[in-house]
Amino acid sequence: MIHYLDNTTNITSEQLHGFFVGWRNPSSSEEHLSLLRGSNHVVLAMDDDSGRVVGFITAITDGVQAAFIPQLEVLPAW
């Protein structure tokens, strides 16, 4: 089963593997966690069985008018 989180409070870099498929210089798990924490909004898709993050989407905003969605990725197996 999948459940969704809207924060990174209890997420560690160990739960972030296999993303940035096809990138020439993929971000490390630590950089991945850092960009999630630095975003104004996140949604994380969590696999209940493994406890791993299997999908994520981020947004950054000005707090009033505009929001931008830099990244959306789901692990290929999901």
């Binding site: 969704y4 809207d6 020439r24 210089n25 909004h41 949604v43 989407i57 947004a59 905003t61 009033v64 008018q65 505009a66 929001a67 931008f68 969605i69 830099p70 959306l72």
Partner: protein, 208 residues
């Protein structure tokens, strides 16, 4: 995506950029096509012709060494000794060494010199001319020489130069440069430390 748009429901503008094949996916959430501009600092230009920077001089000279070794290994009778390192360093100091970069990788070098070899000084007078030498490619068989010449001529035209000279052996190389628009000025015997050879001075006028 649905959950994120729910989080962002207070924002009148929600933007993203994506490849065109992903647009149908985002249309499902009510998004529409737009036109965007992006800067990707990690992406190198496909083709770039420019002066070699100080920390690129060694890489430029290595292209010469590699080519001399390659010619020798095939017993090709050209470039018997590499250009002395100090000569290349002198050109570097004067800003005469250039490189052709393909996606950030040095693919060819050329020197665009203000001075002229002694043998040709009587033939070249105008200060607005440059003498092209040491055209050397890091890979073979990809028309890099032609590409480098084209970019060099464009650079020189943009910087107010009116003509370019070079010299080469008669025969194959003369035909090669003729095919790129150079014309023969005259031929003479030139003397080098390793011996003598017939050389043809060639010229091309460059239009602004």
């Amino acid at each position: 995506m649905r959950r994120m748009l729910d989080q962002l429901r207070a924002y009148p503008c929600v933007d993203l950029t994506c490849d065109s094949h992903l647009q149908p996916f985002y249309e499902r959430f009510g998004m529409t096509h737009s036109v965007g501009m992006v800067l990707r600092r990690y992406m190198k230009p496909a083709v770039e012709f420019r002066r070699l920077q100080a920390d690129e001089e060694d890489a430029g000279y290595q292209v010469i060494l590699d080519t001399v070794a390659w010619l020798r290994s095939r017993r090709i009778n050209q470039w018997h000794t590499p250009l002395p390192r100090e000569d290349y360093a002198g050109r570097q100091k004067r800003g005469e060494n250039f490189g052709l970069f393909l996606e950030g990788m040095l693919a060819a070098i050329v020197s665009l010199r203000a001075d002229v070899p002694d043998d040709w000084t009587g033939d070249i007078s105008s200060p607005n001319t440059r003498y092209l030498s040491t055209l050397t490619t890091a890979f073979h068989g990809r028309q890099l020489g032609k590409l480098t010449i084209e970019h060099a001529l464009r650079w020189l035209a943009d910087h107010g130069h009116t003509a370019v000279y070079l010299d080469c052996a008669p025969g194959f190389l003369e035909q090669y440069y003729s095919s790129l628009g150079f014309t023969r000025v005259r031929q003479q015997l030139r003397h080098y430390s390793w011996g003598s050879c017939e050389c043809v001075l060639m010229k091309i006028e460059i239009a602004k």
